[in-house]
Symmetry: C2
């Protein structure tokens, strides 16, 4: 049976609200996801929250009923609360009516099994949580295995990043590594590293991409360091016809990833 929490002073409210800070997320190994859609995606991918908050009143959505039942069956706690408290927890003006607290994934590179997918995305020094979340969402759409974060990237478990994934966070493996660690891991197995760069002269539609493909995308403002570009098996450029000669990092990743899977689709390999 769900218990009720309606006081702002409740220690649990304070604890969960604290998860909006990275250092608290790290210390507790927990993060927040919001919204019935995202929590349902999580459930379907095999992830249930440790704590499930939902607002009281009215008929409950069948998907919410199922989340409550499965959360409690798995040993988690379901808590009926108020819209005001959800607002406080999520920090959003129009909070969702459901919020889950999840155990953070193990993000060791050694947990990544490259045989599980033909396509992987690698992001270097990505700074914007919306971009990171959008790249995870794209990763799901293109059937990628996951996202490897190289150098100092924004936290994939931040509220903004999780929100932007629209649930795809739970379908993608995530790993963090230094560039040296990633390179050593990559070269210990099969796979081509495909860098996207404004400095490249080769059109991104020219090469025939092989499996497994690792798409490497650089920092939003600086792009990839030259030394990293030099390690790529191929360096390609998405053509730009306008003045500004730049694309949003998540957009460039998606355009590149769709080219790779379109080639495989046309060859009958997907």
């Amino acid at each position: 049976m769900p218990r009720q929490v309606t006081a702002f002073s409740n220690p649990l409210v304070k604890q969960v609200r604290g998860l909006r800070d990275k250092k608290n997320r790290r210390r507790e190994g927990l993060f927040i996801a919001e919204g019935l859609r995202i929590l349902t995606e999580a459930r379907e991918a095999g992830f249930l929250p440790e704590i499930l908050f939902f607002t009281a009143g009215g008929d409950r959505h069948p998907l919410l009923e199922r989340l409550i039942a499965e959360t409690e069956a798995a040993g988690g706690e379901a808590i009926e609360t108020t819209a005001d408290i959800l607002h406080k927890l999520s920090g959003k003006d129009n909070p969702q009516t459901v919020l889950g607290v999840y155990r953070a994934f193990d993000i060791g590179l050694e947990r990544i099994d490259r045989a599980q997918a033909d396509l992987w995305i690698v992001a270097q020094a990505l700074r914007d949580p919306g971009n990171l979340g959008t790249i995870l969402r794209t990763g799901d759409a293109v059937g990628a295995g996951g996202l490897i974060l190289v150098d100092e990237c924004v936290d994939p478990f931040s509220v903004e990043a999780v929100r932007a994934t629209m649930g795809a966070l739970f379908t993608q493996k995530i790993a963090t590594a230094s560039w040296a660690e990633f390179l050593a891991w990559l070269r210990a197995g099969r796979g081509e590293l495909i860098g996207t760069s404004l400095n490249a002269t080769r059109d991104y539609q020219e090469p025939r991409y092989r499996k497994p493909a690792f798409i490497l995308v650089g920092n939003e403002a600086q792009g990839l360091p030259a030394a990293y570009e030099a390690e790529c098996d191929m360096l390609v450029k998405v053509p730009m016809l306008g003045r500004a000669d730049s694309l949003n990092a998540a957009v460039a990743t998606a355009v590149m990833a769709y080219e790779v899977i379109n080639q495989w689709r046309h060859a009958g390999n997907i």
Copy 2:
């Protein structure tokens, strides 16, 4: 010669800060853009600010010197100020050292000349300023003529949207219209309306796209209304291989737009 403004109580500071609100932007017909890169893109596209704020001290970047000179030559005002005031104006924690106040563009549909470009983007009920800005940035990259905003969309002149365009705002025409107005305008000339929809069965790489092409993208959460889809000349779907079956709206727009221009590139038509 630039004048100095260092007091928070200066009426100009209050007025410009007010431009973060849509109703003030509408009333005054002005908006804010930040950062040397974006302001330089604007200048190169023929737009100078009415008021240019920049921080004092140190050697000035040559591009800033040029902005100051051209702004003053065009009758605008250049104002040397403090980092604290720029922070107050921009609302950002790490404000840029340059901020411009620009006259808002005329956004009447009748000002759009479809002969000026082969590709146009049409967004319906778009809600997120980051998505809108990213779509404008993509529009520049694919050589689109501009963005037509149908139904109630987020303000393209909001600080967040302008920031996400990375300057492409100034290279793209922008119009707003009701769906009925847009349809009447579209059908009075040449052009195919290409809707992207999860409901479509036709793969987005199947049709041969003709010029001019109008790519129609729907609201982030709901997609296009069925009645709008029915008006499209073709309805196509970007394939998704994952669980979540969704893409960010700006990402979907970019993947679609690159397919259209890639077809034209391969036919030697760009």
